[in-house]
Subunit: 170 residues, 2 copies
């Protein structure tokens, strides 16, 4: 049901899904919450594989991430979860239990205490080792004008586990 | 001689070379300078493809980058440039004209005014749109103890051009 994978082989898939529909970024809390991300990526720092994910300070996820210091990223490969991604990109976890609302399955993580979105095939479990709060003065004006205020914090999550899981095996 | 490529198809290659021997990070100046990077990666922010490269404040490249706000990344695919990468990872451009010292070819960029390392096959031309100066208090102690002081600045370079070039066609 689970298959360990080398994430290097899925970097193009992750980038493709990230920029076409988005990925699920999930954090734990009094109830787990997932949001849609369309920005971020897999990098390498300090001899570690690092998944960088951006979260705006206004988001419900922001407070949860500050507390939990860990997250999962779930990537749909063949799964049709476009409607759920659209919902999670436009609704706050303050107002909805998104897993319940959308009938998504919170499957327990293998290495960390944060669930994955069971409807997806590819999953990353990450522990935050660093974060950057965006500094507006270091950003070009064109981007600043278009996308801010409400700046992002870039969370650098070390990839602790990466695997495929059959979404039909709920 | 030049072939435009979609960088998405080379993300695994870039990650592999980054973490095995390194890539050339080149900046312009009174003379162009190249250094070896083993950290960084291709991400997506603000609807743009972004190559993040880290540069320590002590490096000769740091001052050049602050002035030029652009850089190239040259990736060896089949080229055997291990000795040059080793040299560029351990010697400063303050003391050496590395292109001359190593017999590397500074081929003019296509979109920006910074050269590429002609001995490599795959090239990225990037314009800096954002930078982050690392904040030690947001880093876990284990990494801080092992790799710092002399913190990195993370330069976010929008990928403006990506292409293959035959290294034999000098």
């Amino acid at each position: 049901m689970y298959k360990d994978v080398q994430f290097e082989k899925y970097m193009d898939t992750v980038y493709n899904r990230l920029t076409n529909g988005g990925l699920f970024l999930t954090v734990k809390g009094s109830r787990p919450n997932t949001m849609t991300i369309g920005w971020g990526g897999i990098t390498h720092f300090w001899g570690r594989a690092i998944f960088i994910v951006p979260v705006r300070e206004s988001r419900h996820t922001f407070g949860l991430m500050e507390d939990s210091r860990e997250f999962t990223v779930s990537v749909p490969i063949r799964a049709d979860v476009r409607d759920s991604l659209n919902f999670c990109g436009t609704h706050s976890g303050r107002d909805f239990d998104k897993f319940r609302e959308l009938g998504l399955t919170a499957v327990p993580g293998r290495r960390i205490d944060t669930p994955i979105v069971g409807e997806c095939e590819l999953h990353f479990e990450c522990g935050v080792v660093y974060k950057e709060t965006m500094n507006p003065k270091n950003l070009i004006k064109k981007i600043d004008d278009k996308h801010y205020p409400d700046y992002h914090t870039m969370y650098y999550g070390e990839i602790l586990d990466c695997y495929l899981r059959d979404p039909d095996a709920q």
